[in-house]
């Protein structure tokens, strides 16, 4: 329990000193995870909407698969991405292994199913509610998808935040494809793992406290801005 109080002390100390290494690590964590969640949203929201609206053979199987993929083990994703990006892998020529873009790729693969599955659920509910009205107005499927995405925008934000939470908190995938290189691919979670392996439990926990605080801050920021937007649109 001594570690707990030391953890908070070291967290406060790191923040108070504006420790440059800490700032670098937090910055990279946010850059990587925000990039990953942006790409995952650009893929996952339309994919989820399409999955909700279109009827085609194998759709149920696909829905179940995407839902199951929400639980993809980060280490397995990391390993697959490593094998792809390795110099001896099919995409080795890109030369991005052990760089931030490789971490973005891994996190995107990890969270795109989360954004897709949650978007599918949200939009399918909305589609059940609105499909008669939209069909009555003569809305085609493509426009229906876009309309539903717009209608569900605030609930989709939750799906995106769920993806962000998973991305910023995972360590297995970024450790393997990023390599936890100081000043290049060290993010909050890999730094925590590193400090744990050095036996610096208090510092590791302190970094954990900061990670939670950053995550909280991002969520609060999104909540506030969407709340303001919502008030203006009356949704």
């Amino acid at each position: 329990m001594r570690e707990m109080s030391q953890a908070f002390a070291s967290a406060v100390d790191l923040v108070a000193r504006a420790d440059p290494e800490l700032i670098e690590i937090v910055q990279l964590s946010l850059q990587v995870s925000v990039s990953a969640v942006s790409i995952a949203a650009l893929i996952g929201i339309p994919a989820g909407a399409a999955l909700a609206v279109f009827r085609f053979p194998g759709r149920r199987g696909l829905v179940v698969t995407v839902n199951a993929m929400m639980g993809l083990p980060p280490v397995v994703v990391g390993l697959c991405v490593y094998l792809l990006l390795s110099r001896s892998g099919p995409l080795g020529g890109w030369g991005i292994l052990f760089t931030a873009p490789a971490m973005i790729v891994a996190q995107t693969i990890l969270i795109a199913p989360i954004v897709t599955a949650l978007s599918r659920a949200v939009i399918e509910d909305l589609w059940l509610e609105l499909s008669e009205q939209l069909r009555s107005l003569g809305v085609g499927t493509a426009r229906a998808v876009l309309t539903l995405i717009r209608e569900a925008r605030y609930r989709l934000l939750t799906a995106v935040l769920a993806g962000f939470g998973r991305a910023i908190a995972e360590v297995g995938a970024v450790l393997i494809v990023g390599g936890n290189i100081a000043h290049h691919t060290r993010v909050m979670t890999t730094a925590i793992a590193l400090e744990t392996s050095k036996g610096n439990l208090a510092l590791a926990l302190g970094l954990g406290v900061i990670l939670i605080a950053v995550s909280l801050l991002v969520n609060a920021l999104v909540y506030l801005t969407s709340g303001i937007a919502r008030r203006y649109s009356g949704a």
Binding site: E132, Q133, S136, L137, G138, V139, R143, R150, E151, S233
Partner: protein, 253 residues
């Protein structure tokens, strides 16, 4: 968004040749082994306001959706027989029990329906404003639809339907969730739309509303069409036992 001048508002293009009558032949619908509509034969012609009546589960709403083309019958045919029948899809509109508005302004809700029809922007704007004027909603145009009262929302739904300048307007229990004042406002809007020449086909379980709005009654019971007569005659002296019981409040609606 500038409000257009009065002259522009009048310039709502008239429809082409009529799509009516709507002819239903031996129409059946069953689901899960239950027959919900049983051999319906019905011709709905232009002009009169038609109200479908019947107790709960009679098949009114289902029949309305089949007429509008939202649901296909299990057997039998639904056919628009007028010279403009090819245009039937875009010459009709429907208002549902719940307003089903989008999360945007009142104006944008009406504009959306017009945008689906690929009308040019200027025409959309003038039509949408006219529709809001007619339904008494012009003052609420910029408000988010979600903050309006139930009655106001249903009038937005009516304005949206009206803006499409439909030859036939289907309404499925449009006032079921409204208080008497809101109901009255919606009824006035419906009557106004009918005066413009739009054929009204609606369902209701509000007998008072049926008396106020109907010119002819289609009475359904247990999935069958049991009586179809001018409204005055129907209310004065229904022929069928079930209809009589219904009017006396002996059948649950």
């Amino acid at each position: 968004m500038a409000r257009p001048a009065i002259e522009d508002q009048i310039a709502i293009p008239a429809g082409g040749p009529s799509i009516q009558p709507l002819v239903l032949r031996d129409l059946c619908f069953s689901a899960g082994g239950r027959v919900l509509l049983d051999r319906i034969n019905l011709v709905l012609a232009a002009g009169v306001r038609t109200v479908m009546l019947g107790p709960n589960g009679a098949g009114k709403s289902l029949l309305l959706r089949i007429c509008h083309g939202l649901i296909s019958p299990s057997s039998g045919t639904v056919e628009w027989m007028g010279p403009g029948a090819r245009e039937a899809r875009v010459r009709q509109a429907m208002v549902f029990q719940r307003p089903m508005l989008l999360r945007r302004s009142v104006f944008a809700n009406v504009d959306y329906a017009l945008a689906v029809r690929r009308l040019p922007k200027a025409l959309r704007t003038s039509r949408a404003w006219t529709a809001l004027e007619v339904t008494g909603l012009a003052g609420l145009a910029e408000r988010p639809a979600g903050v309006l009262s139930g009655g106001e929302q249903q009038r937005v739904a009516l304005a949206r339907a009206w803006a499409l300048n439909p030859e036939v307007l289907f309404l499925d229990e449009p006032t079921a969730n409204l208080d008497p004042a809101a109901t009255r406002a919606v009824e006035e809007a419906i009557a106004g739309i009918a005066l413009g020449g739009t054929k009204i086909v609606m369902t209701t379980h509000d007998l008072g509303q049926a008396r106020r709005l109907a010119e002819e009654i289609v009475f359904l019971h247990g999935g069958r069409l049991v009586e179809r007569r001018p409204a005055a005659e129907f209310f004065a002296e229904p022929e069928h036992d079930a209809a009589r019981a219904f009017l006396h409040g002996e059948l649950l609606w």
